[in-house]
């Protein structure tokens, strides 16, 4: 623990204010609750909202996993994990099922989350309508009236012009049949994992000063049309290292002649599959080196 600062950096009054916002958010699934976001010692856009949410709910007995792009070892994930190791002294883990709190940016782990776990999303833009209506005065009114015609029209225009909905990440979802919600910039591949998830999902947007939540076992539906059902996107390959055919893949450029290696974005999932003896096409080559 770092001297001079409170446990998990934030003072207890601030944590209480944030917990109140979280409770309200849980009570109204998908609704964006304004909160007195603090200026954190990390820049806006680096996960200040997620960090504040995590700091407000974490206790000394928690085990924290932090991922960015699905990986535990990306620089910002390392930086945030260090922040909590330094200010809260909590144990860290890379194993999804061993974590009580998972803070994430841009992914939901492949390993299904269970009851009792909390996943905290870092949110750059909490307003799902922001690209269609820049004024928050207007979008708040739309949410109040559940007036989401603008988004349906936007999806319809994609279908009319391109034959399909052309949103691949931050794909809008309807929560509990009431609020339109930004799932954060996770690939649409991850959207179905949000639906009826046994774990509590919390969303923190520091710069925009909003918190929202999806309680366990809550309906989260990706917007679609009867004749154009939602289709999550995934590269049509197997993981080159572990052979997984069901995971979200990163495309790694291996040379300048079009060479590609597709590997799991979820590093924990991939490592554990390989430890269990699964081998992908390129995993053999790597092992042989």
């Amino acid at each position: 623990m770092s001297g001079g600062y409170n446990f998990a950096y934030l003072d207890e009054q601030t944590k209480r204010m944030i917990r109140r916002a979280i409770l309200k958010a849980v009570a109204i699934p998908g609704h964006q609750v304004p909160f007195g976001s603090r200026e954190m010692p990390l820049p806006y856009g680096w996960g200040t909202g997620g960090i504040q949410v995590t700091a407000s709910i974490i206790g000394p007995d928690d085990t924290l996993k932090v991922i960015d792009q699905g990986a535990d070892d990306t620089t910002n994930a390392v930086s945030i994990r260090r922040f909590f190791a330094r200010t809260a002294g909590v144990a860290g883990t890379t194993r999804t099922e061993a974590a009580s709190i998972i803070q994430t940016r841009h992914r939901i782990p492949e390993t299904a989350l269970r009851e009792g776990q909390i996943i905290v999303y870092q949110v750059p833009q909490p307003e799902p309508l922001s690209r269609l209506e820049p004024s928050r005065v207007e979008t708040r009114r739309m949410h109040a009236l559940a007036d989401y015609g603008l988004m349906h029209v936007r999806l319809y225009e994609d279908v009319a012009r391109l034959g399909q909905v052309a949103i691949s990440y931050d794909y809008p979802v309807m929560v509990n049949n009431r609020y339109l919600m930004a799932p954060t910039p996770i690939p649409s591949f991850d959207n179905p994992k949000m639906d009826m998830m046994p774990a509590l999902q919390l969303f923190g947007a520091g710069r925009e000063k909003r918190i929202y939540a999806v309680p366990p076992y809550t309906s989260v539906k990706s917007l679609d049309f009867e004749d154009h059902p939602f289709r999550p996107l995934r590269a049509a390959h197997e993981c080159g290292l572990c052979g997984a055919a069901d995971s979200y893949l990163d495309e790694v450029v291996t040379d300048d002649r079009g060479g590609r290696l597709f590997v799991c974005s979820d590093t924990d999932y991939c490592e554990r599959r390989r430890a269990d003896g699964h081998v992908g096409r390129d995993g053999m080559a790597e092992a042989a080196q």
């Binding site: 003072d11 304004p34 007195g36 976001s37 603090r38 200026e39 954190m40 010692p41 820049p43 806006y44 856009g45 680096w46 960015d68 792009q69 699905g70 990986a71 070892d73 990306t74 620089t75 994930a77 390392v78 930086s79 940016r105 841009h106 992914r107 750059p124 004024s135 928050r136 005065v137 391109l162 034959g163 399909q164 052309a166 949103i167 691949s168 990440y169 931050d170 996770i186 690939p187 591949f189 710069r207 000063k209 909003r210 996107l233 995934r234 590269a235 080159g240 979200y248 990163d250 495309e251 790694v252 040379d255 290696l261 590997v263 974005s265 590093t267 390129d282 080559a285 790597e286 080196q289």
Partner: protein
């Protein structure tokens, strides 16, 4: 395989920080810059960092400038992140700028007025020629001292107030957030935003943004016929009234720059034609900021005064959501963070769209 899972992010971060620290110090053959030197000799930079960092502390602002290698937005960020951890033990009484110990006070609306025009330490009439004598170690030139000191002087708008031809302070209070003045650092922005919150946002706002917004109103994007009614700079006392004492005590002086813009107003259904005011108040000696702020403040009052908000500077939501450079720099620069998961989904998306389009073209 060429691919090696990227490990060692932790080591890379440590090495980057070490390199940064080394770069900050620069050539060790050159003497190290002291915080006191920055505070004394780069005072305008210190003023700006205090204003945008929302913390009046010359030493810490100078430290932040040193730590940030002179990057003033980064320095303001450092100061803010420190400020947010400080306990609040009292709220100050409103500062009385009419009792300011004047170092500078000018009015563009009157040739002379009670208290007179006091130029003070201004660059206004300097010729912008590089002073090569500063390349050598310069001695401190002695400024002449007037035989008579400058007494406190009332605000210029009071002159017009006698005639009732300029709006008073009172009606504006109506537009304040209910109860105590709002505080953006404690409560999220909400709309309609009271003038108290708007002024706080501008006072903390980026000097460049506020300047550009104010400038845009002069060029026709929401013109408001401004006159620089008064600009003053000097020291004011900060006073608090601790509940356990029950009386007011002076806890120190701060330097402020205040600007009162005077704007023509044709009147409305309820108000006769009169002059209205835009207000700017900034930590330190910061006239550019105070004047820009006063222009934007007045522009944001357009709807309140019965006009239609059409220009960017008149759009309260636009100005308030984008004037903060710590927020702006964070979100703009966050694009540096890895986004390869989303980019991958976009790759698949565009590949699928292309396949559809090419197939249709072939049919």
């Amino acid at each position: 395989m060429a691919y090696v899972a990227v490990k060692g992010g932790e080591k890379a971060i440590d090495a980057a920080h070490a390199w940064l620290a080394e770069t900050r110090r620069g050539d060790t053959a050159v003497p190290e810059l002291s915080v006191a030197q920055i505070a004394e000799q780069m005072a305008r930079a210190v003023d700006r960092v205090m204003a945008e960092g929302s913390l009046y502390d010359r030493e810490l602002a100078a430290l932040a400038i040193k730590q940030a290698q002179g990057d003033l937005v980064e320095a303001a960020f450092l100061l803010r992140a420190y400020r947010t951890t400080l306990p609040r033990f009292a709220h100050a009484e409103p500062v009385r700028t009419e009792e300011m110990a004047i170092r500078r006070r000018i009015s563009a609306t009157y040739k002379d007025l009670p208290g007179g025009q006091v130029l003070g330490p201004t660059t206004d009439y300097t010729h912008r020629l590089l002073d090569f004598s500063l390349l050598a170690d310069g001695a401190r030139p002695e400024a002449p001292v007037a035989a008579e000191g400058v007494a406190a002087m009332g605000h210029m708008h009071r002159v017009l107030r006698h005639e009732g031809i300029i709006e008073d302070d009172a009606p504006q209070a109506v537009h304040e957030t209910e109860g105590a003045p709002g505080d953006l650092t404690r409560a999220p922005l909400a709309f309609p935003a009271g003038r108290d919150v708007r002024l706080q946002a501008l006072a903390r706002g980026d000097e460049g943004f506020v300047l550009a917004m104010g400038y845009s109103t002069q060029r026709g994007w929401g013109g408001s016929h401004p006159f620089a009614g008064e600009i003053r700079m000097g020291e004011v006392s900060v006073e608090i009234t601790p509940p356990e004492l029950g009386f007011t005590i002076d806890i120190g002086d701060i330097t402020l720059t205040e600007c009162q813009m005077v704007n023509q107003f044709k009147g409305s259904k309820t108000e006769p034609p009169q002059f209205t005011r835009g207000y700017g108040l900034v930590f330190g000696h910061a006239e550019r900021k105070a004047m820009g702020m006063a222009l934007v403040d007045r522009a944001m009052r357009t709807e309140e005064l019965g006009g239609e908000a059409t220009a960017p500077a008149q759009n309260i939501e636009f100005v308030l959501y984008h004037c903060d450079n710590v927020e702006g720099t964070g979100f703009t620069e966050h694009l540096k963070l890895p986004h390869y998961v989303d980019f991958q989904s976009e790759l698949e998306n565009v590949r699928r769209l292309r396949a559809t389009a090419l197939k249709e073209a072939a049919e």
